[in-house]
């Protein structure tokens, strides 16, 4: 009979443990535990990839110095009477440079382009590129899919009778999470 009662009590206690495990933990009395909070958010690293070169295209050699501006949207303007020089038929496409950025969705970042001159070269001949700017207005923010695309333009500074040749050069575009 007594044995039966103890078994019943054990069953009751087990039921209580199942319903309130917290009470059971506290039972020893000399220790107290509370759940703490630990958080770590691993975000996608930011990554920038160059897509298209900044292509000023083919320009007939000018007899006077002047500049050609390729806007980030690909609109060309010229000074120093160079517009006819750029109006010639292009055998390859010209246009602004383009990049894509990938990373943490909805996160803002900052773009840095060269602030000074970039030298394009054709053998020993040089051609100065300046005033680089991007299509970004305000603070760029990665999309909900974690992507962002932008374009880059610059000013090309031609000397009078700039030497004939195919000029190329490189520049760096750096993005940093804000």
């Amino acid at each position: 009979m007594t044995t039966f009662s103890l078994r019943a009590l054990t069953a009751t206690l087990l039921a209580a443990l199942a319903l309130a495990p917290g009470v059971a933990s506290a039972a020893p009395g000399n220790r107290s535990s509370k759940p703490g909070v630990a958080q770590a958010t691993v975000v996608q690293p930011i990554r920038i990839v160059a897509v298209n070169p900044l292509r000023f295209g083919q320009i007939a050699r000018p007899s006077t110095a002047g500049t050609i501006v390729m806007s980030p949207l690909g609109v060309r303007t010229a000074t120093g009477g160079l517009l006819p020089s750029t109006a010639i038929v292009q055998t390859i496409a010209r246009g602004p440079g383009s990049f894509t950025v990938t990373g943490d969705p909805n996160r803002t970042f900052r773009l840095t382009l060269p602030g000074g001159n970039v030298t394009l070269r054709a053998g020993t001949q040089t051609l100065r590129m300046s005033a680089m700017r991007s299509s970004i207005a305000g603070t760029p923010r990665l999309s909900a899919a974690g992507t962002y695309a932008f374009t880059v333009g610059a000013t090309l500074n031609l000397a009078a009778n700039q030497a004939i040749g195919t000029y190329s050069g490189t520049y760096t575009a750096t993005v940093v999470y804000q």
């Binding site: 050699r61 109006a87 394009l120 040749g165 490189t170 575009a173 999470y177």
Partner: protein
């Protein structure tokens, strides 16, 4: 136990910047290109001229010289025996294999106060520079004769322009 914790802390301190740097920033190298091509230049062939020849006017008409240099007349204009006609000639230099357009104006030939108007026709409206960057074309024209012009040697000029397409 204390030593163990310290070791962990050091590991974290060193590990954190190493993780942050690659993920927080990224750099790409962009390329910029531009091609400067030879300008187009037009040169008049020395000694060449658009020659309408020697003719009598009658009561007027016209003299036409084809771009190939062949002469023909209309109306009462008559080329005299021994008269020769010629087309004018030009050479072009520039960027290899690039096409260009040719434009020529009309003009007048005059002798003293008397003048006769003419129009011109180039051998082509457009052409393509050779692989060596050269080309050429000729120019013919039509001279209008009123029939009242005095005898004499009439001269004038016109302008030819080539433009890269």
């Amino acid at each position: 136990m204390k030593k163990l914790i310290l070791a962990s802390a050091i590991a974290i301190a060193f590990a954190s910047p190493a993780f942050a740097a690659p993920g927080n920033t990224s750099t790409a190298t962009g390329t910029a290109t531009a091609t400067i091509v030879a300008p187009i230049t037009l040169t008049h062939t020395s000694g060449a001229a658009l020659g309408f020849g020697r003719f009598t006017t009658g009561n007027g008409g016209s003299v036409t010289v084809s771009p190939a240099g062949a002469g023909s007349v209309t109306g009462e204009v008559t080329l005299v025996p021994g008269s020769t006609n010629s087309a004018d000639a030009f050479t072009v230099a520039g960027d290899a294999s690039r096409s260009f357009s040719i434009a020529t104006t009309g003009g007048t030939v005059s002798a003293g106060a008397t003048s006769m108007p003419f129009t011109t026709t180039a051998s082509a409206a457009s052409a393509t520079l050779s692989a060596a960057g050269t080309s050429s074309f000729t120019v013919g024209g039509t001279l209008t004769v009123a029939g009242t012009e005095a005898a004499g040697a009439y001269t004038g000029s016109f302008t030819a322009t080539v433009t890269y397409n």
